[in-house]
């Protein structure tokens, strides 16, 4: 089975989080879909490779020549030089050329930054589908030898994202709060705003409340909270509020919980006896 969906149903940001947390390796194929109201818009494919949850390469073709083209376009080496020096089959091409003295570290950084930039632009695209395949070989010829955690790429992309439309449903609700996840610590540098928002992650202030206190637009607070959720630092939680007394809820729930309206908040459900549980286990076992 492979991971597949559309941007609307499961965003690229959420997918990158999943790949990062699951330390997944494989190739993500992204197919952008043309915008209906734009004559120039057309469908394109992109390929992003991951190793243990880290981005290792990105291309727009499966020719195995994208990195070579980037190097030759910059006149850093000719195709002949590249082929003569890329001797090791199971080593990233960029690293191999660096060892041979053809490319410098700075040049490798620039090549990899170009690949990351290509990925960042995908986050702006509103319509697309993706498929992640973990049974694909490592694309040595498209790799610089550098890598970046998938979640770091997401942060870089989302901090400068202009169009949040496709992510609207994924953003936390302004009436909900955020709660920090115990024992989680930032493993990537947070921006000042993200730090400030994280300081409110106690589950007792709504995002709107945080926006008011920080004197920031609510959308920025929702976006920063979303990044913290993706980083695994917080969870979106409902604000705990006193529920209204329900004297006469629906007939069925009256039947189910006859004293519901009179129960105090946080009152624990009645425990059943151990004998009942033993009977129940016996009953269920007899049915399986």
């Amino acid at each position: 089975m492979s991971l597949s969906s559309s941007f609307n149903d499961f965003s690229l940001a959420e997918l990158f989080q999943l790949i990062d947390q699951g330390k997944k390796s494989g190739c993500l194929t992204v197919r952008t879909l043309p915008e209906l109201n734009s004559a120039e818009s057309k469908s394109e494919n992109y390929y992003i490779w991951f190793n243990q949850g880290r981005v290792v390469a990105a291309t727009s073709r499966l020719s195995g020549q994208c990195l070579v083209s980037r190097i030759t376009q910059r006149n850093w080496a000719s195709r002949v030089e590249i082929e003569e020096n890329a001797t090791l089959a199971s080593m990233p091409l960029g690293l191999s050329l660096k060892i041979q003295g053809i490319l410098s570290s700075e040049q490798l950084n620039l090549l990899f930054a170009g690949q990351i930039q290509q990925i960042r632009q995908l986050f702006e695209i509103q319509k697309g589908v993706f498929k992640f395949d973990s049974k694909i070989n490592v694309p040595w010829r498209e790799m610089t030898g550098l890598s970046l955690r998938a979640i770091e790429v997401v942060f870089m992309a989302l901090r400068v994202l202009k169009n949040w439309e496709v992510l609207e449903d994924a953003l936390p609700d302004k009436n909900n709060a955020i709660q920090s996840i115990p024992e989680s610590k930032p493993q990537i540098p947070l921006s000042p705003l993200e730090w400030h928002v994280w300081e409110f992650a106690k589950g007792n202030v709504s995002l709107q409340g945080i926006a008011n206190q920080l004197n920031q637009p609510i959308e920025l607070i929702r976006q920063a909270s979303f990044r913290l959720i993706l980083a695994g630092l917080v969870e979106e939680v409902p604000l705990i509020k006193l529920s209204p007394e329900i004297e006469d809820p629906m007939d069925l729930s009256v039947m189910a919980f006859s004293n519901y309206g009179r129960q105090k908040r946080n009152e624990q459900p009645l425990q059943v006896s151990t004998a009942f549980l033993q009977n129940l286990v016996g009953f269920l076992r007899s049915k399986t």
Partner: protein, 178 residues
């Protein structure tokens, strides 16, 4: 009369009504109505209040199953139902990734409301394009090993009973440590 109350929750189309209907000894008291919104693209009828099913274990002991409505606008029912539950099951549809965000919200809501034993049941795992359980766990933000996530076929009695058995065993375990 001793009653064990189990809440079955999940997004629209995750199999809650089927899960309960499949094993209840009484005709499930359901509040299904014809879906008139976007839900109709997934299923024709949807639960708007709750489903109720029952299993008699002994003359004075029974298991009650309550299915929550799957649509977001009936979220208020979650709180009503979970408050007196002894345990709950979150059903997640493996082949509709669009339901994962909502499932995660339900899970966070329930965890915030209660610490009772729970299981996550992944349904529709045999469908084309179904996601693997590990990926669903990641998408739900379930990374700790203390959350049990397992496949369940809501159409198969045996599978439903196995899941309930697992839940009751977990409940019994929690009693030992409480």
């Amino acid at each position: 009369m001793e009653i064990l109350r189990v809440v079955i929750t999940g997004a629209v189309g995750s199999g809650k009504t089927t899960f309960i209907r499949n094993i209840s000894e009484i005709d499930v008291v359901d509040t299904d109505k014809r879906a008139t919104d976007e839900t109709s693209e997934i299923k024709l009828r949807t639960t708007v209040a709750l489903d109720f099913g029952r299993l008699t274990i002994a003359p004075n002991q029974s298991l009650h199953l309550y299915g929550t409505p799957g649509q977001e606008r009936f979220e208020f029912m979650w709180e009503i139902l979970i408050k007196k539950a002894n345990a709950y099951i979150l059903l997640v549809d493996a082949h509709r990734p669009e339901s994962l965000r909502y499932s995660r919200r339900i899970l966070n809501f329930m965890k915030r409301q209660t610490q009772i034993p729970m299981l996550i049941g992944v349904t529709h795992t045999d469908c084309e394009e179904a996601w693997e359980i590990n990926d669903i766990a990641l998408a739900l933000g379930v990374v700790k090993e203390d959350t049990t996530i397992m496949k369940v076929n809501a159409n198969d009695k045996n599978s439903v009973f196995i899941m309930l058995l697992k839940l009751v065993e977990k409940l019994a375990e929690s009693y030992q440590y409480s």
